[in-house]
Subunit: 335 residues, 2 copies
């Protein structure tokens, strides 16, 4: 049995730079028609010049594959001129609270000072993408950030805002309050809880930010996604780290899910008996919310089991060593 | 300024075997007059012959230092004859739910079947030490186990029972219900929360079972311990693993706190302005509850800063690289 998916999109993706970019980009390019590329490089992507150079590097890394990198600028105070100049080349600005995750030190330290730039985003109809966590207790960070989302949504009622990689029942509930707010959901947060990360042996390969939460939270995410919520968008948050950064006395946060994203999503939706809702989650909802028209591209999956390798280059992928039921068709390969 | 501590006791201690035993035992022997030795070796200590051999090995590893290993037998179904024969050589039986932590596979699978042995413990006045966790969601395991404690305490009202390494506010509250129940508290659970383990980089060296909980739970432990609760006993749960078991794709659970236990405890009680309550926590409460008379031994600490090494042999200690304000006196050394 084969399955054809039209223009799958990954609305939250870390492609990194240099060798890592060349290692990981093909996995996304082969499965997706496009992806929202995060700007938290070692030097943040916060100028149009840097953005263009990064986009060119991504195109180069994707080779002949049809793949649109939807570029984001790292949130800082921008002038109207800067935003007007950038508007046609970006899908949005990505806001990080300072220090909240990998390479976010240049992020926002004082939320009282972001109003002017956010007002420009609203006026120019540029979406705002937000990593919504406080620096509080690790299990409470997303919930504690909800008042900031609330303030943004109420103060800027025409702003299109995306709550990135939500992980809690509270965030799912929050989504009901505002029609102009959407949220991305990762593959791994549909599958794991904190118990998978730290319940048996400690699993650095499942450690990510936001950290996986409780079974109740996962259930709320699954119910909303499998139930066909129209403002939930697939965003893998695939975030590769070389193995040595995952196995030291402090391990970096990030799950590298790009190689398994589509096959595993198909399996999950099939298990939940709602395969008919997958296209909206991985493409339709995002096209509508972001008002984008991705390139024509059909990705074919076959019901044929394969074993996820332990390593791709220096990176351990999500679900390493496990057997998946669906695979990419031959021409698309498995990388 | 010097501080003299009479007969400090570590009421929960993993000494391991072979080379590891020889590496770690001296750290405990130099700081404590005795310690309760856990029986979860690769082959569980569940016969008197094995217990005697292990005790001899511990004495050998402690060298000339005065140190009483209070031995425990691994809980299984024992006959009256076995328990009578063992009574004078053990401080209690240690019960593990099967598979709940390192080397606990031989533990209890069916709690409906433990009644006969527990009744013998009650009759023979042998304490029962319990690792009280279910196999549920990692943050809920201790709380979910409380009904088992409740059942044991109500069914066997004269049994002396110790809730080992408690980590939650709920367990502290539970302690109020039964006078014949005590609990051990580790050094690290007085200091860290899940946020320290997984809030920044992931820290395998702070990963332990039970996992560190919320700030509210830690506060409840601190309030009870620093408030001088008479049935809270210090038990380090110092549990060394070689570095390679802490830095793989699945990291073992255990904090090696033996080298820093007394100096850091003094610092904590001093910071909490209740140094006068330290002797009860590290000795008096345990002597009374267990009805033991440890060997005469005075341990001297000096107010002199020292830096905790990154490694002792192959093991990374708790607080590695940090400066502590109190050290053991010269003769006792820092190992």
């Amino acid at each position: 049995m084969n399955l054809l998916l039209d223009a799958p999109l990954d609305m939250h993706l870390h492609l990194r730079e240099q060798e890592m970019l060349h290692l990981v980009a093909p996995f996304s390019a082969v499965q997706f028609a496009g992806g929202v590329v995060m700007p938290n490089l070692i030097e943040p992507v916060d100028t149009l010049a840097r953005l263009r150079a990064y986009r060119a590097a991504i195109h180069h890394a994707c080779g002949a594959e049809t793949f649109t990198p939807y570029m984001t600028l790292f949130f800082r105070e921008y002038s109207r001129e800067e935003l007007i100049a950038a508007k046609d080349e970006i899908i949005g600005l990505k806001l990080y609270p300072a220090g909240i995750t990998t390479q976010s030190e240049a992020g926002v330290r004082d939320f009282d000072r972001i109003g002017a730039t956010v007002a420009l985003l609203e006026e120019l109809d540029i979406p705002l993408l937000v990593h919504g966590e406080t620096s509080g207790f690790v299990m409470d960070r997303e919930r504690e950030f909800l008042p900031v989302y609330q303030w943004l949504a109420e103060t800027f009622p025409r702003l299109r805002m995306v709550m990135e990689h939500i992980t809690t029942a509270a965030a799912v509930e929050f989504l009901e309050k505002f029609d102009n707010v959407a949220a991305t959901v990762t593959l791994h947060h549909l599958m794991i809880t904190l118990g998978d990360v730290a319940g048996g042996l400690l699993r650095p390969d499942l450690f990510c930010k936001p950290i996986a939460k409780t079974p109740r939270d996962r259930e709320a995410l699954r119910r909303a996604v499998f139930g066909g919520h129209s403002r939930l968008l697939f965003g893998s948050d695939s975030a590769p780290h070389p193995r040595h950064k995952k196995e030291c006395c402090g391990c970096a946060a990030g799950v590298f899910s790009a190689p398994v994203a589509l096959p595993m999503l198909v399996q999950l939706f099939e298990e939940a008996e709602c395969l008919e809702r997958l296209p909206a989650f991985i493409s339709g909802n995002a096209q509508r919310f972001y008002r984008i028209a991705p390139p024509a591209k059909t990705v074919e999956l076959r019901r044929e089991a394969w074993l996820v390798p332990d390593l791709y280059g220096s990176v351990r992928p999500f679900l390493a060593g496990q057997e998946l039921r669906w695979s990419l068709s031959d021409e698309q390969g498995k990388g």
